[in-house]
Assembly symmetry: C2
Homo-oligomer: 275 residues x 2
């Protein structure tokens, strides 16, 4: 099943794609509101929605936690060793944008791509083990953990390079776990202006989605609609010799076959990245 927040002429609504490939309304203005209100009931499917277009699926997650260094090939390209624990940092709801929206950043930054599988929490998790965490996954979506490398590397803490407002594409849809076999492997792909720059498989994740949710829930509660980004495979621009960064007008495509593709253009502006 595919879930989305869609816009129609009548406004925004949560929606699910039925067997005939038609989006049908779910009873909330978006998936964040729907998931906050309780378990998703697919017998709530009502009106067909004509001309529905998926937008950023989760406008108001309370927590967006990201895992770095979670694919062997990316770990080695960044010059690090396989980790004993997940490396975690955070973004905000403000960081996220939807399919087709521009990646808006001030000019002059070293901006890099990081295609990722994102996990959406379906039920609250607090000090959960792996099995409980696995059962709490509402679905998977695509994300690009776009990173401002110069700010990321100003200090030991990556947050200031990872949480630029309106820089992280996510979506276009959330696919329920019955349709996504992360252990067998789904491919995580990034293209820049049509050129493939990353391709990895989730079967090489060091910490899988259930591991990550259980680990995070050891110290902080996860609630329905919270999002965990699972890390990026090899092929980032900073790992190249010489490094390659995004320039104004570049088109970043982030794809997970079986889930969908995000297409976002880089839109640098003249506003201050002073400090």
């Amino acid at each position: 099943m595919r879930l989305a927040t869609v816009i129609t002429e009548a406004g925004s609504t949560a929606a699910a794609l039925d067997e005939d490939g038609i989006w049908r309304r779910l009873p909330a203005p978006d998936l964040s509101a729907l998931m906050a209100a309780g378990p998703i009931r697919l017998d709530d499917l009502t009106d067909p929605l004509l001309g529905a277009v998926p937008v950023q699926p989760l406008p108001s997650p309370g927590k967006v936690v990201c895992c770095g260094l979670n694919y062997g090939d990316h770990i080695f390209e960044m010059g690090r060793e396989l980790p004993a624990y997940p490396t975690l940092f955070t973004k905000y709801a403000d960081t996220l944008i939807g399919p087709g929206e521009p990646i808006e950043l001030p000019a002059g930054l070293k901006v890099d791509w990081e295609a990722e599988l994102a996990v959406v929490v379906g039920t609250a998790l607090w000090r959960a083990g792996r099995d409980v965490a696995a059962a709490a996954i509402a679905g998977y979506t695509v994300a690009n953990d776009v990173s401002v490398r110069d700010w990321q590397n100003r200090t030991s803490e990556w947050f200031q390079g990872k949480a630029w407002d309106r820089s992280t594409p996510i979506g276009p849809v959330i696919v329920t776990p019955d349709e996504v076999d992360v252990a067998a492997g789904v491919e995580v792909i990034c293209r820049v202006n049509g050129e493939e720059v990353q391709r990895g498989s989730t079967r090489t994740l060091v910490f899988d989605p259930a591991d990550l949710l259980a680990y995070i829930s050891t110290f902080t509660i996860l609630r329905p609609g919270d999002v965990v980004l699972t890390g990026t495979p090899g092929g980032v621009g900073a790992g190249r010799k010489p490094p390659r960064y995004l320039v104004d007008g570049d088109v970043v495509e982030t794809e997970i076959p079986g889930i969908g593709t995000l297409r976002n253009a880089v839109a640098f502006h003249a506003g201050p990245a002073h400090q």
Copy 2:
């Protein structure tokens, strides 16, 4: 002026202390709700509140950003050099507790104290300079960035040692900027079981509150009620030889003269800190 969220027999309310030392009701159930609704108008002061007790002042900040390594003496005790940029990481609203509440953590962790001045944002800030940021400060309060050192040091990213639910005391009141001269220096003090373990002055901050708000607003919007913790002075347990960590039943007092004192007991429990 002192602002607080207080409880009375009638429930929770935002409140301000009048010239006679009496708490008076402000029109919202807490300071987070009051600040989200617009500028604080002190002509809104109404009923006197008898038996009012300050609790956690800001139950729902959208962003809690923390600065590490911001006092010279703490930087040197952690074996680091004076930084060119602030080191930033995050907590959640879930991380915060109020005056008198226990610091609840699983047994077996290396738990340390970090007394800090906290800044509360009063008006939205987006790509602000220093002067605009300074004018946007609603007030100051006391916080203790209680840190789980073993988890903080598992990876390069401190977040997982800093964001344990119900571990960071904050409050008891927010004092408006006209009463707190951070540049001249207010003292930031921590005591454990009555023994003073930290005492620093904000006049030695590397990055002052206006610097921090302006810097953060370069990449993410700050909204009324958001909180920035400004870092801790020297004297943390991890900086001692041998290191000293908190044990069950320890009473942590965090004081900034002119603002107030937090008193929180450590309550370790048997729940899992597995993983």
